[in-house]
Amino acid sequence: MSIALRELRRRPGRFVVATAIMTLIAILLMFIGGLLDGLTKGNTGAFRAQRADFLVFSATSQDSLVRSRIDTAVRARAERAPGVTAVGGLGSLQIGSRVPGHGPRDLVPVVLFGYELAPRGLPARPPARGEAYADDVLRSEGVRAGTVIRLGPQRTPIRVIGFVNDTEYSGQPTLWGSLGNWRAAQDANRPGSRVGPGVTQALVVRGGTPEAIDRATGATHTVDAAIRKLPGVSQQESVFNQIIGVTVVIAVVVVALFFALITVERVALYGVLKAIGASSGTLFAGVLLQAVLVTLAAGAVGAAAALALDAVIPPGGIPFTTSAGRLLASVAFLLVAAVIGCAFSLRRVLRVDPAAAIGGAQ
């Protein structure tokens, strides 16, 4: 093992190419992972912020918040379901908005939510009519406390009275106000989709069992299940995970090729070491150690690059976010790739004949 370490220290040039390629792969892996996390975060924040056990959609909505309509009768049944402790309505309106400082045609897409049960970071009592809390991302559009945002073709005014973090929905920043606010904006700007008094798009439910609530309403999901059913979230995750998988396979190939070449170069040296008593296991452990250290170095540089990127991207820019879990998972994937890649060298190490060290058999 110490022989392998000394080679790394004294002949770093031999490992520069492999380390550089593995670093690029690590950066790519962490960038793709960060993009996936950023996109998922931007798509699902409004649901993740719900302090609830279940989200209920109408039975015919196909789990789409936009298509869902919950009337007062369904709500009453949900409230009577065994174990339910609180029920609140939820409504959303995706719409273009005019923000001061932007041109008249420079619309900022937002999602106005109306709520009754406060999501994380919002006061229990929804703001007064005409007021809302804004997602932090809107700061990058110049929105400040007191800014009046005008929604849709009717320029429905909403005054921002504060900010809330990590509540984006469908990649768009959100505004959080009362259900009355939402109904007024919906009725004014989407006259074809007017909602009657007491009607909401979804119910936020605390307590109860999914079976009981489902019997009462028709389409009940845990918050996590509702997140997975958001349009595109699962598909997006699947596509990105496939790209991550291919990247890991490329890492396997890089490690396999590099260490196969190094092993070929070392056949004579391994012959000598075997002749003086080194086992194949000892020699392979050295190869493995070198691959793991090269990968850890690449992973460290990749993680530093990902963190630096996350720090310099302004809010509302590229949907990119890093987390310790993602960075560690990426390094773990690369380590697995390194071990698998190295395994291809094992056979060659095993086949090294110590007899070659003394001129071969005659």
């Binding site: 093992m1 022989i3 000394r6 003086i276 008593g277 080194a278 003394i358 058999a361």
Partner: protein, 224 residues
Amino acid sequence: MTPALDMEAVRKVYKSGGEEVVALDHADLAVGSDEIVALVGPSGSGKTTLCSIAGGILAPTSGRVVVGGDDISGYSARELTEFRREKVGFVFQTVNLVPFLTARENLLVVDEVGRRTGRAARRRGDTLLEELGLADRANNLPGQLSGGQKQRVAIGRALMNDPVLVLFDEPTSALDTRLGEQVVGLIREEMKRRGTAAIIVTHDERITHHADRTAHITDGRIAA
């Protein structure tokens, strides 16, 4: 005293292209516990095969091989690896030092590939370097050493595990006559000082006078 090597009726047959090639044919060789034997023969005569079998690198097809009292004829590959680590030393034709390790570290490799003894191995390595006149070169890489110095480091490495038998494979083939003579003289001196047996495989008759005895091998047969 237990002989360093006792080979009886050793036969080694290789398969080559469906045909059997006899590399050693009922070879007998005994080496005393502090004896130096020059094994001389032309290229392809089987001397390297004999050396490999005596050193536990190759297993014989038939016959009996006893090294330092241990019958290694039926050893498994794992047992032979351990045997090589504990009982024999090798000095290879092309020296074959690990190029990125210093002279001292090249000696300590023997300890690192086996059961590590740490401080004891370091002490032995330093003593050997001192005795071989390499104390001031201990931290030099092989590339910074002369041919003779490299050969001495290789001898030191072969002696690190305090072997019962050291096998020298053509130790002078890469050296000029004068240096070759010096190296073989050094081998004799070091082996005799330690009372360690050695086989020097060579095709150079000029150096055989340093050995206690010369064994000639031709077509896999030894004529003592």
